[in-house]
Structures are given as structure tokens and as C-alpha cells.
């Protein structure tokens, strides 16, 4: 276990975290289930690589461009699909994700299915960490804002949310947009990390992986998504020795989590500074039931 290896895993975890945070907003907080988020990652990855390699923009600007491009594409997609109910939306996003991959397979300027090599390696641990911290901070702020609470209302009961005057369509759209931007930036970092892009990297398996991390971390919990990304990126590395059985265990674990602890790792709770302080002084916290109730009032229940 040298530092280089650990650094690689941490960077991978960071990139997954970026995409998972976005999906967490959409699935965990707004209650929309997407099977096509790898498509947004692909869009961001190719756009960022194009901005950096062909247009010569600096790395961070290129990443941002990738994210924004994915976000822009999400707007017409959302317009078309966000009114669909439940499973229809799932299947539409699935179709969308696959469509993006198939289009990229056939665009020859980006190398088509053979892939696009020669992207400069710009992603390193420090800029991944910086972007992740900034993204997490923004997500926490968003989720705790009025907009975030409106999204939660949409997840809990769309009709009721509408009745109390929330523009549910607008919030679903906002949620999709932000999550697409996050996925786009994640994809961009990935391109500048591997130095090579191929549409195959962004197939349905990637979308599924992201969703599973969100669920594992716990629906409606930002800190759950953070923990989930780190654990589930590191876990396959630890299980590397039984490579083939890894995904079997993974699949079984997903079923097991759903039937035994569907609320996931964090169960809709957050690790906040308050909670850590309470843990540090357990006696006082258990005595003061009032403060605990006050803290729980801010937590998000799925």
C-alpha cells in the first residue's frame, strides 16, 4: 500500500463523490430516480476535454464548462421528461443515458467508440479535494435552504407540495440541473485523470453504481453520500483479491440493505458539527433532551 495507490483511490472516491452528490440531490432529496446520470458525466467529460484540448482553456475553467454544458443539456431533457410519472421517468432517463453513449460512439471527431486518447493529466489530489469540499459545502447550503426544503416537499408528496403553492416542476428542474452540473464536473475530472475518454466508461453500469452509492449512503443525507462514496470506492479495492465475486457480494448487499435497512448508512441523518459535539460530550446530550430534539428538528427524514 504505497501512497501513490492510496492517492489514486482517494481521487477516484472524490470523482465519484462529485457525481453522487448531484444524484443525491435528485434521488435522495427530490425523489426522482435517474438511470442516465452517466450520460451527464459523459457530456461533461467530453465537453471539458474539448474545452481544454481544442480550445486551450485552463483546467478549472474547462471543468466548469463541462459541468455547465451537461447542465444546459439537462434543461430540454427535463422539460420533456420531468412530467412523467415514476417508472416512466426512470425508463426515459435510461433511454437518454444510453442515447448519449450511442451518439458519442458515432462521433468520429472524438474518436467514436475507440475512445479519445491524449488528454493531458491535470487532475490531482489537491484540486479534487478542493472541488469536493466546495461542492459539498454548496450542497449542504442548498439542501438546508428554502429551495432544498421545497425539493424535499416534492419528494414527500408532490401533490401536497403543489397544493401549498410550490412550483414543483421548477424545483424538479432545478434539482436535475444542479445534479447534471455536478455529474458533468465529475466526468470532466475523470477525463483529466485517466487521460483517455471512451463512451463505454459511461454506460448503464456507471449510472447504476452511482444510484447504489446514494442508496447505500442513505436517501436524503449529504454526509451519507460522502461516506458512501468513500467506502464504496475503497471497498472494491480491498476486495480486489476476489475480484469476480466482488460484484456478486455487491448485488446481494444491495438487496440486503433494501430489505433490512432501506434508510441506508445514515438513515436520513446528517453528521453535523452539533452532532459531533454531542458525541464528544455524551452525558450532557442525553440529559438535555430538549437540545437533542432541537437538533433533530433540522435533520431530514426520508
Amino acid at each position: 500500500m504505497n501512497w501513490f495507490y492510496i492517492k489514486g483511490i482517494l481521487m477516484l472516491a472524490g470523482m465519484n463523490l462529485m457525481a453522487v452528490l448531484g444524484l443525491s440531490l435528485l434521488t435522495g432529496f427530490t425523489g426522482l430516480f435517474s438511470f442516465g446520470h452517466a450520460g451527464f458525466m459523459a457530456l461533461g467529460a467530453y465537453a471539458a476535454a474539448w474545452a481544454g484540448v481544442r480550445m486551450g482553456l485552463p483546467f478549472l475553467v474547462a471543468l466548469l464548462a463541462g459541468g455547465l454544458f451537461a447542465g444546459l443539456v439537462s434543461l430540454p431533457i427535463g422539460r420533456l421528461t420531468l412530467n412523467l410519472k415514476g417508472d416512466y421517468f426512470c425508463i426515459a432517463t435510461l433511454g437518454f443515458g444510453e442515447a448519449i453513449r450511442l451518439i458519442l460512439d458515432n462521433v468520429q471527431t472524438f474518436g467514436g467508440a475507440r475512445g479519445w486518447p491524449g488528454i493531458p493529466i491535470r487532475t490531482d489530489l489537491w484540486n479534487v479535494a478542493l472541488i469536493c469540499v466546495a461542492a459539498t459545502w454548496f450542497m449542504v447550503r442548498l439542501v438546508n435552504s428554502r429551495h432544498g426544503r421545497n425539493m424535499i416537499a416534492v419528494r414527500e408528496e408532490e401533490l401536497a407540495a403543489k397544493t401549498v403553492g410550490i412550483d414543483t416542476f421548477k424545483y424538479k428542474m432545478l434539482s436535475l440541473f444542479v445534479s447534471a452540473v455536478y455529474a458533468g464536473i465529475a466526468g470532466g475530472m475523470m477525463g483529466y485523470y485517466t487521460g483517455f475518454l471512451q463512451p463505454k466508461m459511461f454506460g448503464m453500469a456507471k449510472s447504476t453504481e452511482l444510484t447504489i452509492i446514494v442508496i447505500f449512503g442513505g436517501i436524503g443525507s449529504v454526509s451519507g453520500s460522502v461516506l458512501g462514496s468513500i467506502l464504496l470506492t475503497a471497498l472494491p479495492e480491498i476486495l480486489r483479491t476476489f475480484a469476480i465475486w466482488r460484484l456478486v457480494v455487491y448485488g446481494a448487499a444491495v438487496i440486503f440493505i433494501m430489505i433490512s435497512r432501506p434508510e441506508g448508512l445514515m438513515g436520513g441523518k446528517e453528521i453535523t458539527l452539533d452532532a459531533i459535539r454531542r458525541l464528544a460530550r455524551p452525558r450532557k446530550a442525553s440529559a438535555g433532551a430538549g437540545t437533542r430534539a432541537g437538533a433533530e428538528g433540522r435533520e431530514v427524514q426520508p
Binding site: D87, I91, L94, G95, F96, G251
Partner: protein, 292 residues
Amino acid sequence: MAQFLQQMINGLSIGSVYALMAVGYSLVYSIMSFSNFAHGGVIMLGSYFGFYLLTLTKWAFPAAFVGAALCSAGLAVIVERVAYRPLRLRNAPFLYFIISAMGASMFLENFVVATIGPTFKTYPTVLPRAPIEIGPIYIGRLDIMIFIISAVCLALLVYFLDRTKVGKAVQATAHNPRAAKLMGINTDFVITLVFAIGGFLAGVAGVMFGMKYTVYPQMGGITIKSFIAAVFGGLGSLPGAVIGSLLLGVIETLISGYFSSQFRDLISFTLLIAVLVFRPMGLAGKATEEKA
């Protein structure tokens, strides 16, 4: 003209297999209101069951065929027991069902990769390869058999649902599970039965896909096509699933025949989104309004 007819026949043949998958999936949807993403895993294993019954136990083809379908039915019931029943008893939201289904699908696929291996397997030849010639049109014997078997299976299903008492119970449960339960229908049994039927059809489809192409662990991915077909027709509607599947099969073969096979799937997906935009409930689906 001859080429067009040829493409149509190929399209109907492939569409009829999509129909078997889509009907199984749609039937489960009509009762449980969630997308059973583990359906692909059952189809894939059905194909493997057929392959091993034919090659290892040397059963005659019809016996192996029915055997594989029955094994798949059993598998689908087991998946329901393990992955969905606990959720059902808890009245979990549909999101959890889908995730559990994804887990099951992942488990089945990778279990096969881990035990049998990721290599492609080819079915032994059951029918002579030489096609039948009708004028300028060539029809593969396998294609004819696939079409006939699919049609027979679907006809039997329609007869079962419309003419038998148990079939009526299935329809009643699809219409309103709670009311059906209050009327004394054993909905647990109905759900098990529906999974068994879906699994049986999945097994039939799996064997036929295996014969037409090859068998490999990721072949469950083909069910995306049946999801699309079911959505075309309207989720939960059986006639819709059949029409959607035949339509999809014909459109796909026409596109690969006249345009480009590279764009085949892309056009299917675009069509899917187009259908959803103009008819969000599919071609034959019923419009449902959420009630306050």
C-alpha cells in the same frame, strides 16, 4: 418489395421475442406497479438453463425447452420471495423495489460470471440452418419457430387471463390490489403466480435468444428493449406490450436494413422519448390522474 417483406418478417420474428419479455415484465408491473429490473437476469439464466439441459443432460429439445422455462419460473418466484416480499410486507415505496431489483439483477449477472464464466456459449443446432424459400423471400426455420412459439405462449396467456377463474383473479388484483384482497382473493398467491408466469415467458424468450444468437452473462441487457416496448405500449397493458414489441422489432430491422445498424438503438431510444412526450401513458395505456 421482396426486401421489404423480408425485413418485415425478420422484424416480426424478433418483435415476437420482445413481446414475450415485455409481457412478462408488464404483467408484473400491472400488479406491483414497479419495474422489475431483475427480469433480464431471469431471461439470461433461462438461456443458460436451456443450454445446459441440452448439452449436459442431452434432453430432447422440447423437454429441455419446457424444463428451462420452468426453472426460470422457479427462479423468478425465488427472486420475488427474497428481494420483493419483505418490502411488500412493509409497504415500502416503489423506489426501494426498483433498487432491490437492480441488486438482484446485478447479483444474477455476476453470479453467472463468477461461476460459469464470462465466455460466450453457442447452442447446439436444433433446427437445420437452411432457410425456407417462398418466392424471393428467405425465412429462417428458427425465425418461424420463434414466431409460432411466441404466438402460442401469448395465446395461452390470454386464454388463461380471460377464461379461467384464477386469471380473473389476476386481473382483479391488477385493477385494485386492496379491493381484490377484500373480495377474498389471495393476492400473495396471485403475485407468486404472476412472477412464475413472467419467469416462464422469460425462460422461453431466453432459450430463443440463445438459439438465435449466443448465451453470455450480459445478455439480460436485451431487456432494455422490452422495457422500451412496454413503455411504447403503455406500462401494465398486455396488448400494448405486444403491439409495442412487434412495432419495435419491425422498426429496428427496417432501420438496420435500410439505414444503418449503428443508429438502430439510438433511433429506438429517440422514439421512446418521443412517444413519452406525446403520449406519456404509452400508446395503449390508460391515463391515470393522481387523486388527492
